[in-house]
């Protein structure tokens, strides 16, 4: 019993005619990154708002925020993906639903994946933002109020700038999660990296080369993200305010 290794497969043309298998996988990585980055914009924006609202004094706003978080945290990602892709267009007025279904192929999956991943990750970001705000000493908010800042100003100038610095490391792991989670979009037809490595396995019958190449690309991406976020952490650090721990996790 033996597996016939053939690493040169990566430099052979793929059947779609777009170039070599390596090009094919790199194209997948571009889709992965495009999906993850666009979804990250939604996740960060919605997550920050929801997370901040959950720390306000209004119980109804807090309840609405909790409701949003519980809904999207307790349904598996692939089920959410299918809900957005198959169920959501059917629940809209017929005209809108048909318009959505007629979007040209890769873009329909892409928009759905971005929306789904954005919302899915926003509840995780919201949790981090809330935890970051609540980890600040209460005196910060009191001092801001005492200085005559309104609630909005207190959040804008005192609370959020500190909270975001504190939660930068967990946000880094959320960002890496969104890159990894974008692989689930392959189930709704997005030709991202994991989906393309699976396709390459089906075309070439060389599963391990295909998966090893995809794994390597994910690892490189991770290293780049970690280095980038480390740079950002150093960049935004306020000397003497919050000690950024070296290493750890």
């Amino acid at each position: 019993m033996g597996y016939h290794w053939n690493w040169s497969i990566l430099f052979q043309p793929e059947p779609g005619g777009t170039g070599t298998y390596l090009h094919f996988l790199l194209g997948g990585l571009v889709w992965t990154l495009a999906t993850a980055l666009s979804a990250w914009v939604i996740a960060l924006a919605v997550g920050s708002v929801v997370g901040t609202l959950r720390t306000t004094a209004n119980p109804w706003v807090v309840r609405a925020g909790n409701f949003y978080v519980e809904i999207f945290r307790n349904i598996p990602l692939i089920v959410q993906m299918f809900l957005w892709f198959f169920v959501f267009p059917e629940l809209l007025p017929v005209k809108w639903g048909d318009a959505i279904k007629q979007i040209t192929p890769p873009w329909g999956s892409y928009y759905t994946a971005v929306l789904c991943l954005g919302v899915f990750t926003s509840v995780r970001v919201a949790e981090q933002v809330r935890a970051g705000i609540q980890s600040l000493p209460r005196g910060q908010r009191m001092a801001a109020t005492a200085m005559g800042l309104t609630q909005a100003q207190a959040y804008r100038f005192v609370i959020l700038p500190q909270a975001f610095r504190i939660i930068l490391p967990p946000l880094t792991s959320e960002f890496m999660n969104i890159i990894k989670n974008s692989s689930v979009a392959y189930t709704i037809g997005l030709a991202e990296l994991t989906g393309r490595s699976r396709a390459m396995q089906e075309f070439s019958f060389q599963p391990f080369e295909a998966f090893a190449a995809a794994t390597t690309l994910y690892l490189i991406t991770n290293v780049v993200v970690v280095l980038g976020m480390r740079w950002l952490e150093r960049r935004v650090r306020v000397p003497g305010l919050i000690a950024v721990e070296a290493g750890g996790h």
């Binding site: 019993m1 597996y3 519980e70 809904i71 945290r73 307790n74 349904i75 598996p76 990602l77 692939i78 089920v79 959410q80 299918f82 809900l83 198959f86 169920v87 059917e90 629940l91 890496m176 990894k180 989670n181 974008s182 692989s183 689930v184 392959y186 189930t187 994991t194 490595s197 699976r198 396995q201 599963p207 391990f208 998966f211 995809a214 794994t215 994910y218 690892l219 991770n222 996790h249």
Partner: protein, 229 residues
């Protein structure tokens, strides 16, 4: 698409739960037990002062945690038959069913997440506990087994359970190897009867109900434990 046919859910309940949910729950429980077992071993290796133990364990954990679960599922789906063939010295890759493949995948994958939890758990036990164990003449395994690990487990129970809820949700990804878990069963019915809206809505409701109740239970447990300490 005009009318919805919600009866399809009622008609397929036995299949969805007897076949699908049983698969999901069994997979979750076996992967939880196996994952915590191997995860604890990995954590002990990572914390070991022997480089031959800590470096490979660290590399394995970091590798698994940096690639998507879907890709890991593919890896093991193709790798396990070869490893099986190698172990049994057969001339060709052996046949491995979707369930066995999923069990191995999720055990090996979740072990890395349980490992990080157990590592934090072991480190949360005061150093003096270990020293007193050695002072009493216990060896490494006795100290770990009787003193450190029981406390580490107790400290980490809520986190381990939260990870298990994530594992329960993650098992739905076995859809990609066409396994018939709860999600897979629902998708088979959905495509056969063309009832995607009904089936996927139902799947979402069921997953939500189970995960929400479990996390509520974990939250209450956490409060209880916190009061005792």
């Amino acid at each position: 698409m005009g009318g919805f046919d919600w009866e399809v859910i009622q008609r397929s309940l036995p299949y969805l739960f007897k076949t699908g949910m049983t698969f999901t729950v069994e997979l979750t429980l076996i992967a939880m037990v196996g994952g915590i077992f191997f995860g604890t071993l990995l954590a002990m290796m990572r914390l070991s002062s022997h480089k031959y133990l800590s470096i490979p364990a660290g590399a394995y954990v970091n590798l698994m945690r940096s690639i998507p679960l879907v890709l890991v599922i593919f890896w093991f789906f193709f790798l396990v038959p070869y490893i099986g063939g190698w172990v049994t010295r057969s001339s060709s890759p052996i046949q491995v069913g979707a369930f066995a493949s999923a069990v191995i995948t999720f055990t090996m994958f979740e072990a890395t997440y349980y490992c990080e939890i157990m590592r934090a758990g072991i480190q949360s036990v005061a150093r003096g506990q270990v020293w007193s164990g050695y002072a009493l003449g216990l060896n490494y395994w006795q100290t770990m087994g009787h003193i450190v690990l029981p406390q580490a487990f107790r400290n980490m129970v809520p986190v381990l359970l939260t990870q298990t809820i994530i594992l329960f949700q993650d098992t739905s990804l076995v859809y990609v190897i066409s396994a018939t878990d709860f999600m897979g069963a629902a998708s088979k019915i959905a495509n056969r009867d063309y009832r995607l809206v009904e089936m996927y809505s139902f799947v979402a409701v069921v997953y939500f109900a189970i995960s929400f109740s479990l996390s509520y239970f974990v939250k209450r447990l956490q409060v209880k434990i916190a009061v005792i300490r």
